[in-house]
């Protein structure tokens, strides 16, 4: 078979495995959903134990972040992440995972420039963009409140 541009594209298309996107989405859906259910269970448990709404809003992310860090340290979360993709990256546990996994990876560069600096490789940009965006919103909100 002679290979030219057009039948080469076809050939590649035929040889590439069927787009795994649907399978990936199903896994992301179940894992992401399950992590949120765990979050809801922690919230309800805290309320049952007598915590107020304000405290619960703080305690739930703290516990999830603790669990995400722990499971990353144990090597479990990254195994999950291989399958779950967005389902493990997007929940707040994934935020903790990004911190621990980059910090562990760069430990050999030392505790200050390795662990201390590299732990924010992914979490840093998240905080930067979140804070800047919320401050822009705050500025607009402040102006609107003064004018009206």
């Amino acid at each position: 078979m002679s290979i030219n541009k057009s039948n080469y594209d076809e050939y590649v298309k035929k040889k590439t495995p069927n787009s795994p996107i649907l399978k990936n989405c199903i896994k992301a859906f179940f894992v992401g959903g399950a992590i949120c259910v765990i979050g809801q269970a922690i919230t309800d448990l805290c309320i049952m134990l007598g915590a107020g709404m304000t405290e619960v809003k703080i305690i739930t992310p703290i516990i999830l972040i603790f669990l995400g860090s722990l499971l990353t340290g144990l090597g479990v979360y990254d195994k999950l992440g291989k399958h779950a993709g967005g389902g493990s990256i997007i929940p707040i546990t994934g935020f903790a995972n990004s911190i621990v996994s980059s910090a562990m990876e760069f430990k050999k560069e030392g505790y200050v420039m390795g662990v201390g600096a590299k732990m924010f490789t992914i979490a840093g940009p998240v905080i930067v963009y979140g804070v800047v965006a919320s401050m822009i919103y705050g500025f607009i909100y402040w102006i609107v409140n003064i004018v009206f």
């Binding site: 967005g86 707040i92 910090a103 662990v115 732990m119 979140g130």
Partner: protein, 117 residues
């Protein structure tokens, strides 16, 4: 019912991310940044609050919920303290989570090592 809604909405938010990962080839880090920013934006236009009331942890556990809590924090602080709230609100609201992430992140990366290549 709370649990079903948390599952469905939380799962759906993750599916949106998964589609972006597969379709756009954007690095996951960029998608997380995009989601946090979207969380702030959707909160500012009043869309995210109803979602939080409907889905609970399904809306607050995904990283868009971090954007939500930053935006809500700034909003409340501006109402109470005026322009100073623009600076203090976000971190006040997210202090617990950010401190936990720094502390547990640091401790667990000290005591454990990468498990796989």
């Amino acid at each position: 019912m709370d649990y079903l809604y948390a599952f469905l909405i939380g799962g759906a938010i993750c599916v949106i991310a998964q589609v972006l990962i597969d379709k756009t080839k954007l690095a996951p880090a960029k998608i997380v940044v995009l989601f946090v920013t979207m969380g702030v934006l959707l909160t500012s236009v009043g869309v995210y609050q109803p979602l939080v009331e409907f889905a609970g942890a399904g809306a607050t556990v995904p990283i868009t919920g971090f954007g939500y809590s930053l935006a809500k924090g700034v909003e409340n602080a501006v109402r109470q303290n005026g322009w100073l709230g623009i600076f203090t609100g976000g971190f006040t609201a997210s202090a617990g989570g950010v401190a936990a992430a720094v502390f547990f992140g640091y401790i667990f990366s000290l005591i454990s090592n990468p498990k796989m290549k």
